[in-house]
């Protein structure tokens, strides 16, 4: 067996157990600021995988697996646990006014089933019957402050303003696809758990399962301070906008594409990725024949934005699994893209040496 083949054979595989874990993670409810359900799953999964595990002041899970050789690079891998959702703010008789938490398009809300509160009570976001609307009115978006979460007249007593809610979508595996409400970023969380399980012996592996990414990268900021890594990789989900354009013309803009492999970030709204890390990832992909794509530079952001300006600066790069329809009831991602993402980061960590931090940034 050649060394390359030997390395390839070690890549953790996405199989039934990994998909089952992703399913549990995606169906769990963890709106930014209330990540407890996902934290609980993560803690149970990693309890035997790291040397030090702690939950910090904001609710991040910080798990460190020490290197078995010296000198060892301290590498932080971050995946946010939180998801976009809703907070009930006022209501009576089972009808609740709510605010969105994280970036949600108001057009995604009417007519959707939701889960409310710690007990996941069922609710629905209704809409005025079409019979009572005019054609002009239907051109206008129904504003969030007009919508209500309806939990019925009985359960109304069991929930309160302040409770969180999410879309009620159940995870599904459909053909080549994975479909769920919170694959942004439970894909990253599940990837990070697998990487921790298969971490290379020569690096100090710092896993950060972060909170409040969707409302301002708050968890990642303090996690990076506490862990004080020499470099970091943020694992996330990024929109694939590879749908047909309305007029059939090819769109110059797509952000990322499904089936094209993990998306490597060069620049987004909050980060300029470290060129040495980008090069290392591209070399790794080439060496091991792993498909990957460059995310089109532009807006958006990940935990990397908070990590790279922490302390005296931390070289960082983001790698995301592409997914269509992020921040809606159902995100669609591909199993192959997830597998390739896991393989890329696995090999990139295996082949990482302190030389990567030499100042020649070409």
């Amino acid at each position: 067996m050649t060394p390359k083949k030997a390395a390839l054979s070690q890549v953790p595989k996405i199989e039934k157990a990994q998909i089952a874990l992703l399913e549990r993670l995606s169906n769990a409810v963890a709106v930014s600021g209330a990540e407890g359900e996902v934290r609980k799953i993560v803690m149970a999964e990693i309890k035997d995988l790291a040397d030090d595990i702690k939950v910090d002041a904001l609710g991040n899970v910080l798990a460190v697996k020490h290197a078995k050789t010296e000198p060892a690079l301290k590498v932080m891998l971050a995946a946010h646990m939180d998801e976009v959702g809703f907070m009930l703010v006022d209501g009576e008789d089972g009808l609740y006014e709510f605010e969105t938490v994280g970036g949600i398009d108001a057009r995604q809300l009417p007519g959707k089933p939701v889960l409310v509160g710690k007990d996941h009570l069922p609710g629905v976001i209704g809409a005025k019957p079409i019979h009572h609307t005019t054609a002009d009115e239907r051109r206008n978006v129904i504003p969030v402050d007009v919508l209500r979460i309806d939990v019925g007249n009985e359960n109304g007593k069991k929930i309160h303003a302040g409770d969180r809610a999410t879309f009620a979508t159940r995870f599904q595996r459909i053909g080549p696809s994975l479909v769920g409400k919170a694959l942004d970023n439970r894909l990253g969380v599940a990837t990070l758990i697998e990487l921790l399980r298969h971490s290379p012996a020569h690096i100090e592996f710092q896993a950060a399962f972060t909170v409040q990414e969707e409302v301002g990268l708050r968890g990642a900021r303090v996690a990076a301070y506490a862990l004080n890594p020499q470099l970091a990789i943020a694992l996330d989900s990024t929109p694939a906008g590879d749908l047909p354009r309305w007029d059939g013309e090819e769109s110059p803009r797509y952000n990322t594409k499904l089936d094209a492999g993990p998306a490597i970030y060069v620049a987004d709204q909050g980060t300029l990725s470290d060129p040495r890390l980008i090069q290392h990832l591209l070399r790794t992909a080439e060496t091991y024949g792993i498909p990957c794509q460059m995310r089109q530079p532009g807006g958006g952001g990940t935990d990397a934005g908070a990590i790279h300006k922490q302390r005296a600066g931390i070289p960082v790069v983001s790698v995301s699994v592409p997914g269509r329809y992020a921040h809606t009831a159902a995100l669609v991602a591909r199993l192959d893209d997830w597998q390739h993402t896991l393989a890329l980061i696995f090999h990139a960590l295996q082949d990482l040496t302190p030389a990567i931090l030499e100042p020649d940034r070409s």
Binding site: I125, G126, P129, H132, L243, T328
Partner: protein, 356 residues
């Protein structure tokens, strides 16, 4: 009531788009079979259940019409494995993005209605405005080649939202318009097992109401009832809906229709009966038309005296309509008691105010 609710949830979980009601009709037929003397299917697919009366022949005939078809969508195009579609029945495009559906292709495919990013849409579809239905897609999660094999233009797309027990009494789901009324007619047939009645009762689960009232025109022609009641959902008061004369509190009683589709003497009889049964009810004023099977039934052949009963429903024509089981069972009870009171004098007494 628990059994009726299970039956309702069962028929809510079945497709039955206008003109394609077969899947739901089969299950309704199974439920009605032991409750009626004869069961048949009309030329265009409506289900007819006949429960014979006890009087000497010829029997007077009472028609109960509840449409069983539901709204949905139909594939109009396939682009890169994504489906373009149009509506069957009236759908506000604003309720669609993020909705779980089933595409009835060569096999049943789960999918979601999705809204493309703004940069893939014409300028007048920019954020802040509704994206027109013609620019939305259904994504089945399958790749283009597989979709081309499995889906054709004209394939149906139905809502796939599973029924939700919102409370012990309230059920949420799609197609409660008008499966709720099918359940009410079923409750009536169940009560009629224990009650003597002289008239023949024709229970009809009609087809194609949402598009062309197809069943409502044809079944009464075949049956030629003396009287008819259309049972349909009506508007429950809900967020964003007007709190006016045409919306009703949920779970606080059925509605009794009043307007040109309704024979005034029937209205009086139902009102009097509801009061006698100490049952809550509301006037459903329909100044021009009722928007129900009654519009067609009324004008079949030489004309048929009609009544409209309504079951209040929130969020009509969304995948998360909400209805109260109590209102359904009340409606069934009112129908059964009305049928129990029908006799040889009913038709002669069905007079206009100005008749002496």
């Amino acid at each position: 009531m628990a059994e009726l609710k299970e039956f309702l949830k069962k028929i809510l979980s079945l497709p039955g788009l206008s003109a394609y009601e077969d899947p739901v009709r089969e299950v309704i037929a199974e439920e009605w079979q032991p409750l009626v003397d004869e069961i048949s299917v009309s030329r265009i697919g409506s289900l007819h259940g006949l429960k014979r009366g006890e009087a000497a022949e010829p029997h007077r005939r009472m028609l109960l019409s509840a449409h069983m078809d539901g709204i949905g969508m139909m594939v109009t195009g396939i682009e890169d494995g994504l489906l373009r579609f149009t509506e069957i029945g009236g759908i506000d495009a604003r309720i669609l993005p993020g909705t779980l559906v089933t595409v009835h292709g060569r096999r049943e495919l789960p999918g979601y209605v999705v809204q493309p990013p703004a940069w893939l849409l014409p300028d007048d579809q920019a954020s802040g405005r509704t994206v027109d239905m013609k620019y939305l897609f259904v994504d089945t999660g399958l790749r283009s080649a597989e979709v081309s094999d499995l889906v054709r233009i004209g394939d149906l797309i139905s809502f796939a939202q599973s029924p939700i027990d919102l409370t012990s009494d309230w059920v949420a789901g799609h197609s409660l318009d008008n499966r709720a009324s099918v359940a009410a007619v079923t409750a009536c047939l169940q009560e009629l097992q224990r009650i003597r009645h002289t008239w023949d009762v024709w229970a009809v689960a009609s087809v194609q109401e949402e598009e062309v009232l197809g069943g409502a025109f044809t079944s009464p022609f075949e049956i030629r009832p003396d009287l008819a009641v259309a049972i349909d959902v009506t508007f429950a008061r809900s967020p964003g809906s007007p709190a006016g004369y045409n919306t009703f509190p949920l779970g606080k009683g059925a509605t009794i229709g009043w307007g040109p589709n309704i024979h005034p003497a029937l209205y009086e009889s139902f009102k009097t009966l509801a009061d006698r049964l100490d049952m809550p009810w509301h006037d459903d004023l329909m100044p021009r038309m009722s928007g129900t099977d009654a519009m067609a039934i009324q004008v079949v052949a030489e004309g048929i005296p009609c009544m409209v009963l309504g079951i209040p429903l929130r969020y009509m024509h969304t995948a998360v309509e909400v209805v109260s089981m109590k209102d359904i069972t009340r409606t069934g009870h009112l129908l059964a008691q009305f049928i129990a009171g029908l006799d040889a004098d009913t038709m002669p007494n069905l007079r206009w105010d100005d008749e002496s």
